[in-house]
């Protein structure tokens, strides 16, 4: 059987409702006969009530920094750790290795196209017939320095997905489900640092 002090020590967790059945039953028995502990329960309840409903003044401001802070974490993960892990991860899994190869080739093709074409070369038509898709489709050429991760982040941010493979000249097709003003969105994409050129696909 526990002594008075052992029961008193349990009161904060009696108040927050996390005692297990055994502790709870023993403390309830004790409270029925101990006025000092009953008063302690009242005092702890009052403190717990005062505690709730008072957000920390800095909390909201800290929450607003979440995305920027995550970007800082990602930078800390790469290239020394993140990139090294990614390569090892890819090497360990054939299907992931295939995905990495496709991405490397496509980013590489953008780089080759960028290196061989003058900056003001007009966009050349794709050689293959585009895969039919529903919704808005953007045609995008990424900067030659754009990494696979940046492409993926941009797609996540836009809520879009790649359609098929990029054209031989490095034009990606991105399908977007929910875009109210495609032209404005294309203009926004155009301003993205990872994007060299973006336009709504005419169909």
């Amino acid at each position: 059987m526990k002594g008075h002090d052992a029961f008193t020590a349990l009161i904060p967790w009696y108040v927050n409702g996390t005692l297990d059945e055994r502790d709870m039953a023993q403390l309830a028995d004790h409270l029925a006969s101990c006025h000092a502990c009953a008063r302690e329960v009242e005092a702890t309840l009052a403190d717990a009530r005062a505690w709730h409903g008072r957000p920390h003044l800095e909390h909201e401001a800290t929450l607003q920094g979440r995305d920027a802070n995550f970007a800082r974490l990602v930078r800390r993960l790469s290239p020394s750790q993140h990139h090294k892990h990614k390569v090892r991860w890819a090497a360990a899994r054939p299907r992931n290795l295939a995905a990495v190869l496709v991405i490397t080739l496509t980013v590489g093709s953008v780089w080759v196209w960028r290196a061989s074409a003058p900056v003001d070369t007009p966009f050349e038509a794709m050689t293959a017939a585009p895969t039919p898709v529903r919704g808005t489709v953007m045609q995008v050429i990424f900067q030659p320095t754009t990494t696979e991760r940046e492409v993926r982040e941009l797609l996540l941010d836009a809520g879009g997905e790649l359609v098929g493979s990029p054209s031989p000249s490095g034009v990606y097709r991105i399908a977007l489900d929910d875009v109210s003003d495609p032209s404005a969105y294309a203009a926004r994409l155009q301003r993205h640092p990872a994007v060299r050129w973006a336009e709504v696909e005419r169909r």
């Binding site: 020590a9 800290t62 802070n69 995550f70 993960l77």
Partner: protein, 165 residues
């Protein structure tokens, strides 16, 4: 997807899973670290230190504890390290002697808790702000359950002395 499943995927170096867990835990960790007296800038830096450990050590998570207590445990360790940098102004532990406390009727419970030693403050915050059991708090702090109860007992004694009217 459960937090355990996310940790499994993070152990396989899936950075989408890392981002998902980061977003889920960010508000909770920010609240915890701010309540432990870290500044906003320190809290942001420590949150990233925590997730660096999560990224590196998730493969070692065996599921003996819950993901929540594991992550909060990392947070507590990182917070104490951060506070140690200010050890001349921030009492970390030891027994706060209630007899040396000067009562201040103008204090509210939040200000009073901020004046507790950090190890006592952590027990109070984890109990009343986050609703953890004393067993979970022992896991988070990496100490025996009786130590948690003793810290709470001393913290409440100091708080009563501070808030005495």
């Amino acid at each position: 997807m459960t937090e355990r499943e996310l940790l499994v995927r993070i152990a396989e170096e899936d950075d989408d899973a890392l981002e998902q867990l980061y977003r889920a835990y960010y508000p909770r960790l920010a609240r915890f670290l701010l309540r432990l007296n870290l500044s906003r800038e320190e809290a942001e830096e420590v949150i990233n230190d925590i997730f660096l450990v999560v990224w590196q050590k998730s493969g070692a998570f065996r599921g003996d504890s819950t993901p929540s207590t594991w992550i909060m445990g990392i947070a507590h360790n990182k917070a104490l390290k951060c506070l140690k940098r200010h050890k001349f102004v921030e009492p970390l532990g030891g027994i706060a002697d209630p007899s040396t406390v000067v009562p201040d009727p103008t204090l509210d419970i939040f200000t009073a808790v901020r004046r507790l030693p950090a190890k006592h403050r952590a027990v109070v915050v984890l109990t009343f702000e986050f609703g953890y059991s004393y067993r979970e708090i022992a896991e988070i702090l990496g100490c025996p359950e009786n130590t948690v109860k003793t810290r709470m007992f001393n913290a409440r004694k100091s708080l009563k002395a501070m808030l005495e009217t």
